[in-house]
């Protein structure tokens, strides 16, 4: 009887330590963030803080330096740009690699994944040099065609595009990896059947391969989306949110309020908003994925 009880408890006992770690380093910070978002906590006052209700959210939403709607728009443009670019580049490369022999594919895959394993801050500084108006590769290349130097990172019209390009380069690797894995599992007979029916390669990709990997494609899209939403280090290294908050995403706003201004309460409220958006996207993914999965079963 006792042995049976212990036997039943064993899985829970084994889980206690990892659950404790999960609580300490994941759940507790989340809870504290939610708590701080309703307080007047500052970097100099973290204990015995005053409850302010939703005033921090009100302050963040009504801020005009920068305007919150502007921050939200910048975040959306950066995230969607990164998402579309990463999906296009990652999927395109995966499809291209799928057409070559396995040995060459592995070698090329290793090369293409290099940006993905480099720290984002290193990528940020590398691209900052590439976009340097005086010595950067971008202007040198354009100069060969007679184009005048462009202030890529400090001109309001080009800063965001430059950041998106850099982030696509930093993030397409995960899409490439996930889509390549899915392509390897596509049954060869359906591709052969399409070829026998006379379908071109482009048509086979559009009508057969992409639908076959759709659930995995959705996963890659979600990962790219959340990664774009949370990018901080690359933007910080390249523009620090400038010029004039034109590249200030929610992740940077969170940092600026919390670390630079020391306003823990307002920083936490931005975090809560960002968390809510990420959660909504994750829920949307699960719903869509389940709908897709039902089609296949």
């Amino acid at each position: 009887m006792v042995r049976g009880a212990f036997g039943r408890a064993t899985p829970w006992l084994l889980l206690v330590f990892p659950l404790l770690l999960l609580f300490l380093f994941l759940l507790l910070p989340y809870l504290l963030t939610f708590y701080y978002s309703t307080t007047g906590a500052t970097i100099g006052r973290l204990l015995n803080v005053k409850e302010v209700g939703l005033k921090n959210f009100q302050a963040v939403l009504s801020s005009d330096a920068p305007e919150f709607i502007g921050v939200l728009t910048v975040t959306a443009i950066f995230t969607v740009g990164t998402l579309l670019g990463s999906l296009a580049l990652g999927t395109g490369l995966a499809l291209a690699l799928h057409t070559v022999r396995a040995g060459i594919r592995s070698a090329l895959m290793a090369v293409y994944l290099i940006p993905w394993v480099i720290a984002a801050v290193v990528i940020g500084y590398t691209w900052r040099l590439m976009f340097d108006p005086a010595i950067g590769l971008a202007n040198t290349a354009l100069g060969a065609f007679g184009v005048s130097p462009i202030e890529w990172l400090t001109d309001k019209s080009t800063a965001m595009a430059a950041l998106v390009v850099a982030n696509i380069w930093a993030g397409y690797g995960i899409v490439l990896l996930v889509v390549s894995g899915a392509l390897a599992n596509v049954p060869p007979n359906i591709i052969l059947a399409a070829q026998v029916d006379g379908a071109s390669y482009a048509r086979t990709v559009r009508r057969v391969i992409l639908p076959a990997i759709r659930p995995t494609f959705l996963l890659a899209a979600l990962v790219a989306l959340v990664s774009g939403l949370n990018t901080f280090d690359l933007i910080y290294a390249m523009t620090r949110g400038g010029p004039l908050y034109q590249t200030e995403t929610m992740a940077l706003e969170m940092y600026r309020l919390t670390i630079l201004k020391g306003n823990i309460g307002q920083g936490a409220s931005v975090t809560v908003i960002l968390f809510t958006i990420s959660l909504a996207l994750a829920i949307a993914y699960v719903v869509i994925w389940r709908r897709e999965a039902r089609k296949w079963t």
């Binding site: 042995r3 970097i43 100099g44 005009d64 330096a65 523009t239 908050y245």
Partner: protein, 447 residues
Amino acid sequence: MNKRLLALLSVMVIAGGACSPVASQPPAATGGASQPAATTAAAPVTLTVWARNYTVEEGRIQPWAPGPKTAFEAAHPGVTVNLAEGVGSSDQFNRIELSQAGAVTDKPDIFQLDNIWLGQFVDEGITANLDSNYANWADKADIVPAYANSTIVKGSQQAVWFYSDIRLMVWNKDVFKKAGLDPEKGPTTWAELFADAAAIKAKVPGVSPVEFPASSEESTVDRFYSYLYMAGSNILNADNTKAAFNDAGGVKALQLYVDLVKQGYTPKAVLGETADDNIAHIFSGKAGIMLATVGDGLGSLPDGFDVTKFQSTIGAALPPLCEGCTPASTAGGWMLAINADSPNKDLAFDYISMVTDGKNMVPFEVDRARIPVRTSGLAQADAFKADPYFAAEADAAKVAHFPPFIGKYTSMIEILWTGMQKAITGDLSAQDALDQAADKVNTLLAP
């Protein structure tokens, strides 16, 4: 099964033990603020000092030690001065703030603070009131009155000046030579500034003729103030309750920045640059003129520079003047304060008194090209002979202004630099940008 269970429980006990010491350990021995108040020989006291990194740099002259530390410890048996690791400016700000947050156990007895933080720290109750110490302090009369008065906040002395720094314009002499300009003579007026910038632009391709910091950071406003002051403007009104920077003088000063960018003499890239970025460009010859910088080039020479090379490469002078304007510069610098929670305030003040003594500070100030705040230090002009631009710094000191020491200063300057950026990017005119910023500052400062 019992053996497996026993093994499992053992693992859990070990793992639990590994997690628990944080809570079960006694508090680590830290600074004096956490020590008992007694200062007798029987109860050893540690006086903890949180200083900036370069004031405790190994191999360079330090104001804290060995002289003052040894003398102080000899005069106070049982008292040890703990010079904690020095950190950069923003880390220093954060650790002082965090020391009050209850989130960390160690607290300093003495800490070094940027003059612009004083108002905020006083508002937050971080600094100790030093009125009683000042009252009996013989050295009080040695501090230059303008400096001594500036540490009075809300009617009480809250800090002791450590050393000062002054804004100067600097230029790269090699760039000037290539542009056909006299390398020993920087521009003295705005008209000359534009003429020199035009010559550099025409004859030295790939070099920014003029630079100033314009990113979302404190140096953007700090390096702008000298131009604001020379044009007759001010940051706030006399009682620090309203913005004053949007008057005609302020607009004139900001228009200078706008015109330099518009005419292609200053790259828009400055919107992403700090003063440190600008000065690095001056040293490397990537830029010709920097409108204003802390006059500490000699104190922070980059690799490959010695005093001779510094003097032959870099020129420094008072910021150039607009027509009908009066010479002006901006003074900044660092102070020492005592933690309001320190149980050893009098001991801390004794040590501060020894450290800031004019004779003790001069070697450090010479080494780092800082400006003395003591009359006795300023009188030792001979000691500063190694600094080729001490005369220019001394001239600037005579016309220096201080930024306002108010609690909301760090929030206020965020509004100001955003306004400046709006004018530089061309989003708004200089007048509209400063008016908009002034409205926001007035709202911020409203009681």
